[in-house]
């Protein structure tokens, strides 16, 4: 079977307008969209620019806009698209370096704003004892699977309309730390996320959750944060 692949091409330094190049690519079994992109770049047009690293969904480098939806190219099987026509574009809401490679800097700038690193409590000297059935980390544990691929960021309409909104991934990380009993900076982070460009920008549209390749629901983290922000305002927040 032959795939009709349309690939977005744009060099912001020289091109006034982006264009699409079309390639006919032979499909093979187990072909991922990343295979398609690599095939094009290796054997058809070596000037194509894209980014990838691990090719097994662990590094989050190859998020692209594939047939109208942010996805990891490596984890998107061609057969799952249900069509032989494939359109590949860069991840939305981020500046384009060239072609399919975007500049992740704005995404990570916001990620850094919430202080994404553990600030351990003074008395944390040993690994904490935490029973798996205690429920203490129930939500955090699966959210830690985040690979910061930016798919949620590319899918979020609020990010699209407000360049300052922290976005789903940064807020999810903030929640993981705020809910982590080892961390000493809970209030500090709540102050950051309760700003107008924080949690209240989320309009619970669940676009982020729909596209997350790790099946995380950032909306859930954001709602948890909103609850804590309200409690904090009311003077009821303990922690």
């Amino acid at each position: 079977m032959t795939l009709n692949v349309k690939v977005f091409r744009f060099n912001p330094e020289t091109d006034k307008m982006p264009r699409f190049d079309t390639f006919k690519i032979e499909e093979f079994p187990n072909m991922a969209v990343l295979d398609v992109v690599m095939n094009i770049q290796n054997y058809h047009d070596p000037t194509l620019a894209y980014r990838c690293s691990c090719r097994i969904g662990m590094c989050g480098s190859c998020a692209m806009y594939i047939n109208g939806r942010p996805r990891l190219a490596c984890r998107t099987q061609v057969s799952s698209l249900g069509t032989k026509d494939i359109t590949i574009m860069p991840l939305p809401n981020l500046p384009i370096i060239r072609d399919l490679a975007v500049d992740m800097e704005p995404f990570f700038e916001k990620y850094k704003k919430i202080k994404p690193y553990l600030i351990p409590k003074q008395d944390l000297k040993e690994p904490v004892i935490c029973k798996p059935d205690s429920g203490e980390r129930e939500l955090i544990d699966y959210m830690l699977e985040c690979i910061t691929c930016g798919a949620c960021y590319g899918a979020c309409t609020m990010v699209a309309t407000d360049p300052h909104y922290l976005g789903p991934a940064a807020l999810t990380r903030a929640y993981c730390l705020i809910a982590d009993k080892r961390d000493a900076a809970t209030r500090e982070r709540l102050v950051i996320v309760e700003q107008s460009e924080g949690v209240w920008r989320c309009h619970t549209q669940f676009n982020c959750a729909e596209v997350c390749p790790k099946k995380i629901v950032p909306t859930q983290a954001i709602q948890q944060l909103k609850k804590r922000c309200v409690f904090k305002r009311l003077g009821l927040f303990r922690g």
Binding site: Q41, R75, I97, R137
Partner: protein, 570 residues
């Protein structure tokens, strides 16, 4: 040309690079530290891809002596015993640091303490993990901590060459290239830490991420550092087979065999019964990989050239809950790991050989520190599953500490501009050359050549043939073409040429060292010398550059803590 002055330059952002950065900074926050990484920080390299977990002694019933013994046995007794001893003793400190300072959280047992799971080749269940995708947690959290510190991070910036003084015995910095813009950067550093990973990607079926192409090793070689045991390259027994997809070769983790997974050939025989009746599938990687390869070569493989990994007898619910990441990956190719056998093949995975270092990661060149897969000696002839990420974090941390101390007592040695010019010309020469060998064809040829001639089973004749062709290819790659109108920035074809150039250096070291070792040991199997020969070959092979060629010699292993007879006696 941009010039940066730094106390410490770190190349690589896997476990070794990140821990080096954190430790160097925490040793002395006033040091100017530059970390350059080929991809995005924490996203490239293989630490991120660690699935199974991290070997460490935590349980009072376990001991570092046992972990040490397993490591030396697994390494077929040619490990540098001081490095292995350092590994097992520092690993608990690093896990402790990760849980209390860095912010990692590993899976827990019923009683709330850190869970440890069984891995192959180990006398105790000591593998700490987070599900079956452990690397994400370790590397993401370590990256977060880098963000908390004043460390200069240069992303999508690759190392091209180490810069040396006029005598060639002191590394004074490195020449880098910003991949996005194609611009060169000179970093004048008191200490350089190389931690870019190995070159197993030079094989047709291989596990590593695509950005890992032996860059650090090749740079160290060209700069004149001494190497050890380069023939030792590990094939992981269970690489997923997915046809022509690049998913092929990705590892299905060791814990699957640890948990009781079975391997069958195409005619339904549980073939490990013939190769290691005692340990079966829980034998070490070298043995299981070779067994699988032998079965395939004997015509008992599947049509696609694999053997079968079966988990179904353990119960679908168990498999799905313990190995969700593996199930998901297999599902991507339309198979069900929990309910049916899955085709696997040995896959090129990890280099035990590398730059010779001491316990503080000093190499043979002043100012050059090496940690992680780029360094050799810790694992001997075969690495145990779960000792890899332990290696990178333990020795990364040590390199950071040592480089910080070194940098405080040293001054900068000026960069030689003539050398810089020579190195930049050696990259720029490709532009405007529309005719010449195609780099992608050469790369594909290298992968096939290494698989067939320098692979799981080697012979003197095949290795000689490989060396001859590799030497020719090293000349061909220098004449490779670039598309007309190629841009300097984000030029993947140019980067492929630079990758291939480095892979060819490492490939030749592996083949030459493999030809030299006339016995079989660990991951190195010579069909023409199938026995392990402790009489003549209980030694390490050292190589260093000499003119355009190399100098090679053996030195007996220093059995400072454990001798083969100590293990055999018990």
């Amino acid at each position: 040309m941009e010039e940066i002055k730094a106390d410490i330059l770190i190349l690589g952002s896997g476990g070794a690079g990140l821990f080096a950065a954190l430790h160097a900074y925490d040793s002395n926050p006033r040091l100017k530290i530059v970390l350059a990484t080929k991809g995005l920080i924490g996203k490239c390299g293989c630490s991120r891809m660690v699935q199974g977990g991290y070997n460490v002694v935590l349980d009072p019933k376990d001991s570092v002596e046992l972990h040490f013994k397993d490591t030396i046995k697994g390494g077929a007794f040619i490990n540098n015993q001081e490095l292995a001893w350092t590994l097992v003793n520092d690993a608990p400190k690093r896990i402790h640091e990760m849980e209390t300072k860095i912010g990692c959280f590993f899976d827990r047992r019923e009683d709330g303490r850190i869970h440890q799971k069984p891995f192959a080749g180990q006398s105790f269940d000591r593998t700490v993990h987070r599900g079956d995708l452990t690397g994400i947690e370790i590397i993401a959290r370590a990256t977060d901590q880098v963000f908390a510190r004043d460390i200069t991070v240069l992303e999508e910036t690759r190392g091209l060459e180490l810069l040396t003084n006029s005598n060639g015995d002191r590394v004074v910095g490195a020449l880098l290239m910003n991949i996005r813009t194609g611009q060169f950067i000179v970093v004048n550093a008191k200490a350089v830490i190389v931690a870019t990973g190995g070159s197993a990607s030079m094989y047709k079926i291989s596990a590593p991420s695509f950005d890992k192409t032996g860059d650090g090793m090749a740079m160290c070689w060209r700069a004149g550092a001494e190497f050890v045991d380069m023939e030792m390259l590990q094939f992981h027994p269970t690489g997923l087979l997915a046809g022509k997809s690049r998913l092929s070769g990705s590892v299905l983790e060791e814990g699957l065999r640890g948990a009781g997974g079975r391997l069958y050939n195409a005619i339904g025989e549980r073939f490990m019964e013939r190769y290691d009746p005692e340990r079966l599938e829980r034998s070490t990687r070298d043995r299981v990989a070779r067994a699988g390869y032998m079965e395939i070569m004997a015509g008992r493989g599947t049509p696609a050239g694999g053997v079968l990994l079966d988990m179904s007898h353990l119960g679908a619910e168990f498999v799905e809950s313990k190995f969700p990441g593996m199930c998901e990956r297999v599902r991507d190719i339309g198979k069900d790991l929990a309910r049916e056998p899955v085709e696997v093949s040995p896959t090129a995975h990890f280099q035990m050989g590398g730059v010779r270092i001491d316990v503080n990661c000093y190499s043979s060149l002043k100012g050059l520190f090496v940690a992680g897969e780029d360094a050799g000696g810790v694992h001997g002839a075969n690495r145990l599953g779960g000792n890899g990420i332990a290696d990178s974090t333990v020795f990364g941390a040590r390199a950071g500490d040592a480089a910080a101390e070194f940098a405080q007592s040293q001054d900068w040695v000026p960069v030689d501009q003539v050398q810089v010019k020579m190195f930049t010309n050696n990259v720029l020469k490709f532009f405007g050359r529309a005719d010449g060998p195609d780099v992608y064809q050469l790369r594909d040829e290298l992968k096939n050549l290494m698989w067939e001639k320098v692979g799981v089973v080697r012979t003197g004749q095949k290795l000689e043939q490989a060396l001859k062709r590799l030497a020719e290819m090293s000349e061909e790659v220098e004449r490779a073409k670039l598309p007309t109108g190629s841009l300097r920035g984000y030029n993947l074809a140019l980067n492929e040429i630079l990758n291939l150039r480095n892979q060819l250096v490492v490939a030749q070291l592996v083949a030459a060292s493999a030809l030299y070792r006339k016995e079989s040991r660990g991951s190195h199997y010579r069909e023409d010398f199938p026995e392990t020969d402790n009489q003549n070959w209980l030694c390490n092979i050292f190589m260093r550059k000499k003119g355009d060629g190399y100098f090679i010699e053996t030195r007996p292993v220093k059995l400072t803590r454990l001798r083969p007879e100590d293990v055999a006696a018990k």
